[in-house]
Symmetry: D2
Subunit: 335 residues, 4 copies
């Protein structure tokens, strides 16, 4: 049994992570931390776990938590996460980091977009990006994995195969994404107050959302060319799910069939990405680690539609998938 701990266990991604790990035959959850005081049981925060996990939330330093576990999942905010886990990794405990701290490989890009000083700059650029469909080999056996952002996962999975096959121009990619509200976290805000966001759709962070450089970097490094990304996230009145509609320019005359073949070939051995003929709904992937993708040609535009559950394939499912690869389990275990 692999003993695991979770830093920052009160959020939505932690809840999903716990639910997935409870089904994992080789995992024992031993430690949960939060800033809560008084050792409340996790089920007092997440009643979903009543009768399923009987552990207290401990106000524990990362190093103290690490001493009890073989693998630590960090659900802390950026900067706080790297600060907590850098010594843990140094000490030899494996870590899956949900934050953005080790995703960007360029320190300046990180510090510009996140407006903070990186607490562990020397490790920047040396950590594998935990998207198994693109970087499976590097994840196997890794000590530290940067778990991808939810929007980037939906964007990258749709376009990476078409870019790799040279079917679309790298310089002109538009990602129009629609996300459920759980992506905004568990802290109450006016924008996520029910009567404000229910029965409404809005765009936010156009041109300024921090997932923009992440998408550009990962796709760029994957094909070795510079990528031009426009990214527009939208808030949708539903709990969970991301659907990304991407617009690209073909490099040459192509057909829908060729696009679909490229996608199918690329994901032939990936258990969770399914290339479908119909236009998928986020609901098709809700509660699963799946990503459904399709492609269309409209006039002179290539359009892809990809969807996933932002809390599973966009966060905790991907984390368990990475964990499985890191520890030598079957990639699909408990997923």
């Amino acid at each position: 049994m692999v003993r695991v701990g979770i830093l920052g266990a009160t959020g939505y991604t932690a809840l999903e992570l716990i639910k997935l790990l409870l089904r994992h035959p080789e995992v024992e959850i031993t430690t949960l931390t939060s800033r809560q005081t008084g050792h409340p049981p996790i089920s007092s925060i997440h009643p979903q776990l009543t009768g399923r996990l009987d552990l207290p939330l401990e106000n524990l330093e990362a190093m103290a938590a690490a001493e009890r576990v073989d693998c630590l999942f960090s659900c802390l905010p950026h900067a706080a996460s790297a600060e907590a886990i850098a010594p843990v990794v140094n000490g030899g405990t494996r870590v899956v980091d949900f934050s953005a701290d080790y995703r960007l490989t360029d320190l300046e890009t990180y510090e510009t977009w996140y407006q903070t000083t990186h607490p562990d700059p020397t490790r920047i650029g040396k950590v594998v990006y935990g998207l198994p469909e693109l970087f499976r080999k590097q994840i196997i056996g890794a000590d530290l994995v940067a778990n991808p952002g939810c929007y980037p996962t939906s964007a990258i999975l749709a376009m990476a195969p078409l870019l790799q096959d040279g079917l679309v121009e790298p310089s002109d990619l538009i990602f129009d994404s629609k996300s459920g509200v759980s992506g905004a976290g568990r802290t109450p805000k006016l924008t996520t107050h029910f009567p404000e966001c229910n029965e409404g759709v809005s765009a936010y962070g156009i041109g300024s959302h921090r997932h923009t450089p992440e998408i550009a970097q990962v796709l760029g490094q994957f094909i070795g060319r510079e990528i031009g990304v426009v990214f527009s996230p939208h808030l949708i009145p539903m709990d969970r799910g991301i659907l990304t509609t991407a617009y690209a320019r073909p490099t040459r005359q192509t057909t829908p069939g060729e696009l679909m073949s490229a996608l199918r070939a690329f994901y032939e051995t990936s258990p969770f990405v399914h290339v479908v003929d119909h236009l998928p709904s986020t609901k098709d992937c809700a509660g699963t680690n799946n990503c459904h993708i399709t492609a269309r040609m409209v006039g002179e535009r290539v359009i892809t539609v990809s969807c996933l559950d932002n809390l599973i394939k966009g966060a905790s499912g991907a984390a368990v998938q990475n964990f499985n690869l890191m520890f030598g389990f079957d990639e699909s275990t408990s997923l």
Copy 2:
């Protein structure tokens, strides 16, 4: 033209009030107050009002606001409301109070349920309860009206006619109410955070909700007998609407037809209460000042179902209805 002002204009009831008053041919809104500083335009808080009302939010004392208006609507919280409007009423300006401050006629009951000292105790018990369907005569020409609570309106309108006609026992009334989330106000809280309350139903405040004594008192005073009330509110994942299912015990053998006749007779001259044969939905009343009611007999139980829009008939529509009666306009103007 009647010049009106609104105290506490940033909430949801104030927004609905403004929208109704903008349609009123005899009203000019001149003053809006809030604790906001810097005189922001109301449309910066409520973008719905863009191009429709060009007024700033002023950080103004009630008395200063009163000097500019003929009628003041107070959307302040309880206690703060009475404190603000007592001198205004003393000074001769008419007021519609949305808070609970003047609804309860017994000081001790108020102070027990609201856990506060009443700022204007001498006026307690002398203010008309602004439910025109029961107290129209007293509202006409009144200087101060206590606008009813949203839940009590749905509860009282369904049961008052049956109690008055002696068809149901006053001692054993159960009101099971279901409300949209706007009823909880505009301040973000965990319970009204979208991913917490979307896709879920919960009860709250069973046995402790402050509308309990209000229902009991108003029904009791209306028929001159003591009322036994059990009141269970529930939070429903929708913006607006209240549906109350009420359970009563018949005093004697009766029929559904007799119940419906009693309701129809009672509301014959009330323009906003409609007795319907089918089981109504809150959606039938959304955006209107209507209340739809029906009655059923099941075994030895009388059941009524009543619904309304909590922000209109349950708050701002009722306020305008009261305003119309206070100022001698047709009761339905702008509604």
Copy 3:
């Protein structure tokens, strides 16, 4: 491995059943039937199953399906279900029946409420009601189990312990239930058309819903006394979940603590029913086989609030729980 088949596999309960069974280490799903022609893959109806179950929907008679399996789950409508499974059971194949056909133990009651002739009248009254928390011993090893209705499960679990302990009057029980829309099935109707039922709450079937006699019968047989039931279901704009607020009259002076103790003692050995101190939300049980219950005293009324996922504990989770007991597996396997 137990080979299982599902009759009527296109509905929502069948989808949940498949998802649960796919996790079951001792089950192989071999057969799915529906009236669809052309052997479409199940994933074309339920895209959620893409890459998870690769089986066609066969237009197969129940007997033909039974030949391939050790256990058959029937998700057919009432009457059609008994007609299909009676010969199957006669032939020695075990069956879990989701329909109401074998729940009611009195033929006349069945035929009155369901307005149909029962296709298998001789078996009526001899089939165990599949609520393990009340009838675990009878379910173990059974050949045919009548899987309970979703509303009755929420109603019965809350009141059975209090009735058994003589704490509440059996003659005067009111169940006010709130259900998500998936309970209405997968066939499009005006009442479940999104713009009709979204943003609205309505009551339906007050006094005429077919779960009324089921609740009365099961509770009555459990305590050996006649039960008086008023049951009011409501449709809530959410996918899944049932919350039942029940009102009963205490038989003697009691306390909330005594009520809670009775509930806790009753469910001490039941893994899925949790007695909680707070007022629970359906969301706490969504996606799980759990039922959360609490009790309150208000004035002279006992109130219980119980919630569950109508598709899991209210249908498919209960079915798997029954299946586990019938076949000798741990009751919680895959749940």
Copy 4:
């Protein structure tokens, strides 16, 4: 008083139209038609109208309806609409047509996209497109107006000013639209069944939606150049609202300020289009005839975000706005 009638009065746009016309001081609704038999009152279909409009639904031919009115609004489906209203217009009664029949000015385009023979081909190309913000002069006094599609309104209003000022390339416009479910009409279908579309986002009709040629034609005729349009509609789990995120390529170096100035100048005299600095939500326009628009520059892309209520500014509000212009009333009356 202008006497008006509505053909096809049972749908959602007709309901909104009735609600708006009931507030119009110069209008009397005299006639409602539908295929319903038995003259049911309109309130039996739309309970929202209980106590507000006491008219039966008549199974009446358009010509018979026209004899009673000065203006007819047709909410019939395409083809059926032109067939019904062609003789009405010939007979001298004014008509606002909600269908697409007279929007497209090229017969072949109409017959290709709508897969039907046009019942009134000679009038094609001679009917004004009822978007007052672009074609106010031609609408004033018109006898027949083609009321615009909901998606085209949101798309055209955002891009027309930028195209007119030569700020964006006409050949490469992408419109990514998100719509509430009421846009799909009132007929129950699996795709709009609550448990299918709630808690999910999906794209539909990419490259094949019939509003594509409408957008291209209207913008093209407005600036006298050919337009290249990619249009991707998405279904959002909410009742009403459309938000369109549009992507265009600037013709030259420009700034956000210049874009906003172009928009502001264009709509200076239009009472319902508001250019806002923030990223708007559909909720800001819900229940109003407003359209909120903003613009951004991201890298080398111009992005506009526009939103409106699909049933009001996207349908019935626009129809009343057109009616006002046709009959010489103030454009904003009752809106």
